[in-house]
């Protein structure tokens, strides 16, 4: 793997680290299988790109994208908690609606940002080359988000959100407003995914309506890889696992792209990534069993 490919994998790892953080909040903390992210990732890209093309500040454009993502998450919460639609279906409905909305936002299915001012230019002002500047922006955004999510989970409010996911009846019994926790959690989760989409658009030069396909799979894979790598659970470990897992996933793809020598081609890419995630899952379970056995032994 060349240094350039490694740099590329690291950049994308940080971008998808944001997605993994979002999925940590919905899937793991709230125990809510939210499929909205396949729509909120391109929504963030679409809004960000539209704001930049209209002459807006690229940093404010990222913020606008994240806010749009939060609205999408709140919509899913409204569908499931307000209207009583099954959570899986609520996410699918939002995701489906967002496809049309994203085309509306961009005015067409693909909005290019090549040659437009982006957040990478701000980082390049520090005297960095374009690739290093992209890495710095992605890493800074991801680190900041991970820090904030970690701190949030450790607050009393974060604790009540986790309680809502772990045992909603118990949480409600001790006075937690569960519907509100779900709405806030999904809004935060989708804001993170939309931020990732906005960053992707600015870093790689385009927003495309098809770019959300598989976001949920990549995010979940990152989460599982991260959990397989970091064993102990705490808010700090959980957010670290997301970032580490996302980077590990991108390096896995990088390796899969280098496997011509082994007789594999890029059409085997999805198979390789599925195999790696399955292996990681098995390893983490196997590891847990080994630890339990060791503890049981005298």
């Amino acid at each position: 793997m060349s240094g350039f490919a490694a740099l590329g994998a690291l950049q994308l790892g940080f971008v998808y680290g944001l997605v993994a953080l979002g999925i940590l909040l919905s899937f793991r903390m709230l125990n809510y299988p939210d499929l909205t992210v396949d729509g909120s990732f391109p929504l963030g890209a679409a809004v960000t790109a539209a704001v930049v093309v209209a002459g807006g500040n690229p940093w404010l454009a990222l913020l606008a994208g994240a806010l749009a993502g939060a609205a999408a998450g709140a919509l899913t919460a409204l569908l499931s908690e307000g209207l009583g639609i099954l959570n899986l279906l609520a996410g699918i409905l939002s995701m489906t609606a967002l496809y049309s909305i994203n085309i509306r936002v961009m005015g067409r299915p693909n909005l290019p940002l090549l040659g437009e001012p982006t957040v990478v230019d701000t980082a390049a002002m520090l005297g960095l080359g374009p690739q290093a500047a992209k890495l710095v922006v992605a890493a800074a955004a991801c680190a900041l988000a991970a820090l904030l999510v970690g701190l949030f989970l450790a607050t009393r409010y974060g604790l009540s959100l986790r309680a809502t996911g772990a045992n909603p009846r118990m949480a409600a019994a001790v006075g937690v407003h569960c519907v509100q926790r779900v709405a806030v959690g999904l809004a935060l989760s989708n804001a993170l995914c939309a931020l990732a989409g906005g960053l992707f658009a600015q870093l790689y030069g385009f927003a495309d309506v098809s770019m959300g396909v598989g976001t949920i799979v990549i995010g979940l894979a990152a989460l599982i890889l991260g959990e397989a790598m970091l064993r102990r659970w705490s808010p700090a470990a959980a957010v670290l696992a997301c970032v580490a897992g996302a980077i590990a996933y991108r390096f896995t793809i990088s390796l899969a792209l280098e496997t011509e020598a082994l007789g594999l081609t890029t059409s085997d890419l999805n198979l390789i990534s599925a195999a790696v995630v399955t292996l990681a899952f098995l390893f983490s379970r196997h590891g847990r069993r080994l630890r339990l056995r060791a503890r049981a032994a005298p």
């Binding site: 994308l12 299915p109 770019m211 280098e258």
Partner: protein, 323 residues
């Protein structure tokens, strides 16, 4: 916190991969790297046509030339990662087939020569500012269909034509660019354009049925959704005896009249540009090219099935006949 053993394994495989790639890079033959957003018959034809043309120009694959191919499997995130990998390998030319692949590669390098292909509107995609003089490290071949000619052909085919229908996927940037050109072309020809959208191939049948009774002919553009479910549209037009015009490749599948170029020929033009760059040419001064060799194809069997008499003026222009 423990790094698990498989992480070590991952790193070991990575190091081995690095060594293998390093060994390959030492040979001095020119290296052309192809990438596409997805594997798809038309896009694959572009690559095959380019490799054939390169061989004709003295760059025979696996002899005096090394090529590679990476498909992003439909995911733009993979396209970005493939772009990073290719830029790290420093090929002599990167060939990016389809709009998202070309945008990803251009975002990754402003130095290495890039040839795009099968991009419908390179100016709208911000790949080049001026198609006649690209100026940067990128040029290529567009697959914009000869829409004005196709509309003219439709008018000749259906003499009293006033309303032309079109079915396309509004989620595909190439199709949207094409329909924008179609709007201008129909307006210039004094026709009313009736649009019907299909986001998925399962929506095609309903999209065709919406047009029944509202149009005298239906135009079927180059569109991935349409290409995958064309038969659903043909079933409706056949039943309602509506003449269809569109891409030449569709004629075999039941479209009455088609015109266009084949993607292998686009590949040949792409190959010519790659060869010129390998011989020292610069993308900055090479104008964006398109195919000029227009094929007009008629499905004679379909004309009989819908009881349609093809005017002699159209018959005279037909180069390929399908029974």
């Amino acid at each position: 916190m423990l790094l698990r053993s498989w992480m070590g394994m991952l790193l070991a495989v990575g190091a081995a991969g690095g060594v293998a790639v390093g060994a390959q890079a030492q040979t001095k033959v020119p290296y052309v790297a192809f990438t596409a957003i997805v594997e798809h018959p038309a896009l694959d034809d572009v690559r095959k046509g380019a490799i054939e043309e390169l061989a004709r120009r003295g760059f025979v694959d696996k002899q005096g030339l090394r090529t590679s191919f990476d498909s992003a499997q439909g995911l733009p995130a993979n396209a970005a990662q493939i772009a990073a990998k290719l830029v790290g390998q420093k090929p002599d030319v990167i060939v990016a087939i389809s709009t998202p692949s070309a945008q990803s590669v251009l975002a990754a390098t402003k130095d290495l020569p890039i040839v795009f292909s099968a991009v419908t509107d390179p100016v709208a995609a911000n790949l080049v500012r001026d198609a006649a003089r690209p100026g940067g490290n990128i040029t290529g071949v567009t697959d914009m269909a000869p829409v004005a000619e196709q509309v003219g052909l439709a008018q000749q085919l259906v003499p009293g034509l006033k309303r032309l229908g079109v079915i396309y996927n509004p989620g595909e940037s190439n199709s949207v660019a094409l329909v924008a050109v179609l709007r201008r072309a129909t307006k210039a020809a004094g026709l009313e354009l009736v649009e019907s959208a299909a986001n998925r191939s399962t929506d095609l049948s309903a999209a065709a049925e919406r047009l029944v009774g509202k149009v005298e002919a239906i135009y079927l553009p180059t569109d991935n959704v349409l290409a995958s479910g064309l038969e659903a549209v043909v079933a409706v037009t056949r039943q309602n005896r509506i003449p269809t015009v569109g891409d030449a490749a569709y004629v075999q599948r039941g479209v009455l009249l088609g015109s266009g170029f084949d993607y292998r020929e686009l590949g040949v033009i792409t190959g010519r540009m790659i060869a010129d760059i390998l011989k020292g040419g610069s993308p900055a001064t090479m104008a964006v090219a398109s195919s000029t060799n227009l094929d007009v194809a008629l499905n004679v069997g379909e004309a009989k099935r819908i009881g349609f008499t093809v005017p002699p003026a159209v018959l005279a222009r037909v180069k390929t006949r399908v029974e």
